[in-house]
Symmetry: C2
Subunit: 338 residues, 2 copies
Amino acid sequence: MNSKRIGRRTVALQTPPSVLSFANIGGRMEGQGPLAKYFDELCDDSFFGEKTWEKAEATMQRRVLRRALEQAGLKPGDVDYVLAGDLLNQCIGSSFGLRELGIPFFGLYGACSTMGEALALASLLIDGGFAETVAAQASSHFCTAERQYRMPVPYGSQRSPTAQWTATAAGCTLLSAQGPGPYITHVTCGKIVDQGITDPNNMGAAMAPAAYDTLRAYFADTHTGPADYDAIFTGDLGELGHEIVMDLFRQDGVDMTRNYEDCGMLLYDRDRQDMHAGGSGCGCSAAVFNGYLLTGLKQGRWRRILFAPTGALLSPTSSFQGESIPGICHLVCVSTER
Amino acid sequence: MNSKRIGRRTVALQTPPSVLSFANIGGRMEGQGPLAKYFDELCDDSFFGEKTWEKAEATMQRRVLRRALEQAGLKPGDVDYVLAGDLLNQCIGSSFGLRELGIPFFGLYGACSTMGEALALASLLIDGGFAETVAAQASSHFCTAERQYRMPVPYGSQRSPTAQWTATAAGCTLLSAQGPGPYITHVTCGKIVDQGITDPNNMGAAMAPAAYDTLRAYFADTHTGPADYDAIFTGDLGELGHEIVMDLFRQDGVDMTRNYEDCGMLLYDRDRQDMHAGGSGCGCSAAVFNGYLLTGLKQGRWRRILFAPTGALLSPTSSFQGESIPGICHLVCVSTER
């Protein structure tokens, strides 16, 4: 096995890529939540000036990359690759959003784990010497996701208590071979894990075993445990999934209760905003990472964190056909020190 | 710019990864076509023994990987990563097909360019020293694609003359750091190119400018031209798109008429099988590459080829909303010599 791999599944990056800049965008609900001040842009118009919600999501993808570029003082031509994805059928949020920028494009589908998948591959492309600057990004939109996965929003369907709220949000990280940090030091690629959960309104429970699998593999590979990190963030398991991850680790004698949070529980206010089990969508963990988390690392709130977004790899068709819900979780370790 | 990159967009792999094994699967129509003898498995049952076509496509993804593993004498646990994608909403062909194998999974969405995207990223992961063995694969299914993009097959809708036929096929390449070849020597990542074509029944015309863009960038970066290769294969442009690519190069004074073919024109028999403009779908170029092309390299028919599959990044929703069709084309150079 190659020397860059430690243990079975984790890569320790030899020259950890640096965050060069980051940006996020949110909608009205995100602007009313506790992380509002960590957004670069909040837009009350769910159409973002466009005629359809799908075009709005594409606009978010384009704008969030432009903002990250501005903050780094770069032009689209300075970026070697953009790795992006979203929840829409055929990922039209990313492909239509990014088509005018002319940056070499690797399209990803990792459901709500996409921000982790993009950061992982972007880091490997840079550390491998194939790129100097790479953009990693993801988005979701409440109205496009409701129409596609459940019911069109104007129908006013009732949501079940375990349901999560798809964030209208996007986040972009520009990574570079050189920079002041924070740095991506480790990458663990997720496996598809399916424990037989069939309720598409309880995706936290479906994804929790994948988060447990990836985090456990990472801890084993690196010979570390939760106490070695200032904070650990999954996303977007919501309350129920967060609870299950802690339970699964408890059975192994590992205490996750002290510093483990979930992006889906951070984005909205449990009391003031009725989001049921919490936030979800590619944009939820993407916006939390490219706002609250990276700002916290920059400002010294944390020195080393794990970011492990989770995705539910279902479609309405797979659920109609009685399938259970496979989950996946990609992890990156982010540190202020190389 | 990093030394591994030559020109603006192409990576010359320092230790070109080797094809370790390859496999493909096709359906009834593929078994009646001119490439039938290059398939490892041909199945007359469009359900592949499953209850739905979507489950059938997942079965193809699983089986094609198992076949490639068998041929290399490997187990799923020997594979460091699998990179896979398909055309289905939320890519359920790959995620459901691969969930039981427990291999770290990077999900891709590149429409019909997915086989090229998977080979490109797999090669970079190996050359970067992050993996020893990686599987790259893609699939499509006529009946799942018709239902999703156009009309359910039982409706018997008429197809337009420029329409292509989505292949029921899958292909998998196992790449490794060590091996007897053929080798992936160069990778060029595609840009999203949109020239304003809006007819979803004429995807060859929509994707041709992307193929031209990537091939032109590759020729410029490597200071080579069509005559430096034994054969050049795009996929899946079909007849019309193939014509357009030759026209675009003709305007540059570059002759593509001698050795340029398209996977969509190879898979079916123009006279005996009425496929209109040709084959398409992720599985078309994936099956042609992992059969006819790699066998041809192995048997000495060619020594150096370009494989440049093209994807149309549309969805039914984007077409309903009046959007044009963005295309993308990822390229790999495959050679019997390192």
